[in-house]
């Protein structure tokens, strides 16, 4: 697997990271090395193996539909980097 600068651009954009040219170059090389190493998995025949997302056979964990009082708004907003009395603020969003 070759990790191209285009792939790095694409995944940077998806993850909202903008790398400086130098950082991007070293990142591309490192990712290529790491992904190349990961390709060792292709040696394994897994055609008949079900993907395992949850390691425990735990299932049906449900809560009852009972209202719990919400938190004080001030407590929820207290950590916002831009203070406001009633909401989290962001630059104008396009529709």
């Amino acid at each position: 697997m070759t990790v191209t600068p285009e792939i790095v651009d694409y995944i940077s954009e998806l993850s909202r990271l903008s790398l400086e040219p130098e950082e991007k170059a070293s990142m591309t090389a490192q990712l290529e090395q790491i992904v190349g190493y990961m390709d060792v998995l292709t040696q394994l025949d897994t055609a008949a193996v079900e993907p395992l997302s949850h390691v425990f056979p735990l299932k049906n964990v449900l809560r009852e539909d009972v209202v719990v009082p919400s938190r004080e708004r001030a407590e929820l907003l207290a950590n916002a980097p831009v203070p406001d009395q009633e909401a989290f603020l962001v630059p104008r969003t396009v529709d």
């Binding site: 998806l14 809560r63 539909d65 719990v68 919400s70 929820l76 603020l89 396009v94």
Partner: protein, 472 residues
């Protein structure tokens, strides 16, 4: 060239649970911004989702009613994207193993719409731009409100079919009690995928997706607009571009939404925080046994069991609360036809005059049954009963007490009626003579005279009978 329109629908329906899908915050509509929130639904670090049992139950009920296959082993997945209405930057949804698949909805006229899938997911928050500070405010009250998304196959050919489907969907979900389907509060929202192709062709054209359709009227107009727009483009030799368009109700037109600045790649993967769900046959059977009678079944039953006309059946079952009201009246001993007449007439009229929904009706079935029984027993005449109905409606007052307090009960004292009849006959020999010589009109005049003397409270049936026997 004649064109065929091909439409598929994605409908988001808010479930009528008390709490959100993954936390205990209320789902109540409205509320000041960010007051129906907690660390879980605002996506604070370290918090975890736990699935609301009712959401699963409601989604399965909806799937059963829409004739879907229910997935016995189902999971949640994360859909990753950045937007300020999504505080975790991923939406917990279902991609790989949705709860329901392959359903079908009969929309009448021999047409069936196939359901591709139905899945559970969480709603996002609301963004409101504040021009004063030129900033957008994010309100997370709606974050985590449970939704089901119902995706159809591209089976619609006309706007009428789409509306028939939406009406059927709304009726079904309301009957199940899984959603109130209020379009104005956004609890039923749909996106329309539309393409056109030459009539007779079996290949698909390029489709567009339309959003922001907030009423059946908007859906209908948007479909007509978009089909025309696409046809005009093709006829002008242009291509239809695959894009998302926003319907503007005021301008009666749709506009291409600015294509997202960033690439769309949602990187779905199984949600590690929520263990899978395995549905047992017993549980499914208990839900099936528990499904209420749906509108269509009620309509058929009202016709066959009560002999009501199709139109009455349609009207009464159009709203589950109304049908429940009707059935309560019948259970209280009211004749089905009487019950239906009152609902179709007075009840609907007063509801409409008060701008009330049937489910918010103050009048109880018990009170109306009592009033109808008084008419049947001859204690109130029909016209007086309507006046009583209007007077007692808002307070659900006792009709008997009201009639007594206002002296509205009919005179049922036969001796009194006979004496009044005798007096009227004695005072109107001319009319008696006219009647006997065959003038039917004279009989009406005599009835009128008797009723006047009884101050309108005579039982018309008794008055007629006594008059006739005296004149024969």
């Amino acid at each position: 060239m004649t064109w065929e329109t091909v439409i598929g629908l994605e409908t988001h329906v808010e479930l009528a649970t008390k709490t959100k899908i993954f936390c205990g915050c209320t789902t109540a509509f409205g509320g000041a911004p960010n007051t129906h929130c907690c660390p879980v639904c605002t996506g604070m670090p370290g918090t975890l989702p736990v699935l609301n049992r009712k959401v699963l139950e409601f989604a399965v009920k909806a799937g059963l009613a829409l004739n879907c296959e229910i997935t016995r082993y189902t999971k949640f997945d994360r859909k990753n994207y950045f937007y300020p209405d999504l505080p975790k930057a991923y939406q917990i949804s279902q991609l790989y193993l949705p709860i329901c698949r392959n359903g079908a909805v009969d929309i009448g006229g021999g047409k069936t719409i196939r359901i591709h899938e139905l899945h559970m997911e969480e709603d996002a928050g609301k963004l409101v731009h504040d021009p004063w500070i030129d900033q957008t405010r994010a309100d997370y009250n709606r974050c985590g409100v449970p939704l089901i998304e119902i995706v159809t196959e591209p089976d619609f050919r006309t706007a009428e079919e789409v509306i028939a489907y939406l009406e059927k969907l709304k009726e079904t979900l309301q009957y199940l009690g899984v959603s109130d389907c209020k379009m104005q509060e956004g609890s039923l929202r749909c996106d329309v995928n539309l393409s056109i192709r030459p009539m007779g062709s079996d290949t698909m054209g390029t489709r567009t997706e339309m959003k922001n359709l907030n009423s059946f009227k908007a859906v209908s107009r948007a479909i007509a607009y978009e089909a025309r727009r696409q046809a005009e483009r093709i006829e002008e030799g242009k291509r239809v571009i695959q894009e998302t368009r926003r319907w503007d109700e005021n301008k009666d037109a749709s506009f291409a939404m600015r294509s997202k600045e960033n690439a769309q790649d949602y990187r779905y993967f199984p949600e590690p925080d929520i263990p899978p769900i395995e549905l047992s046959e017993e549980w499914l059977q208990s839900l099936k046994d528990d499904l209420p009678e749906l509108a269509e079944e009620k309509r058929a039953r009202y016709q066959s069991q009560y002999g009501l006309p199709p139109y009455d059946c349609q009207m009464i079952t159009s709203d589950k609360a109304l049908a429940d009201f009707f059935e309560a009246l019948v259970d209280l001993g009211t004749a089905p036809k009487q019950a239906s007449n009152w609902i179709m007439g007075e009840v609907l009229a007063v509801l409409s005059a008060r701008a009330l929904e049937a489910k918010d009706m103050p009048l109880s079935p018990k009170t109306l049954a009592k009033l109808i029984a008084m008419v049947q027993a001859g204690r109130l005449n029909r016209n007086t009963a309507v006046k009583v109905f209007e007077a007692i409606f808002d307070a659900d007052a006792d009709p008997e007490a009201y009639a007594a307090a206002h002296g509205l009960e009919q005179v049922r004292d036969t001796a009194l009626v006979e004496s009044v009849v005798d007096a009227v006959l004695a005072d109107n020999p001319k009319s008696v003579e006219d009647y006997r010589s065959g003038k039917q009109k004279a009989f009406g005049f005599l009835v009128g005279q008797v009723m006047r003397q009884l101050k309108g409270q005579g039982d018309p049936k008794a008055v007629n009978e006594i008059l006739r026997s005296r004149l024969s």
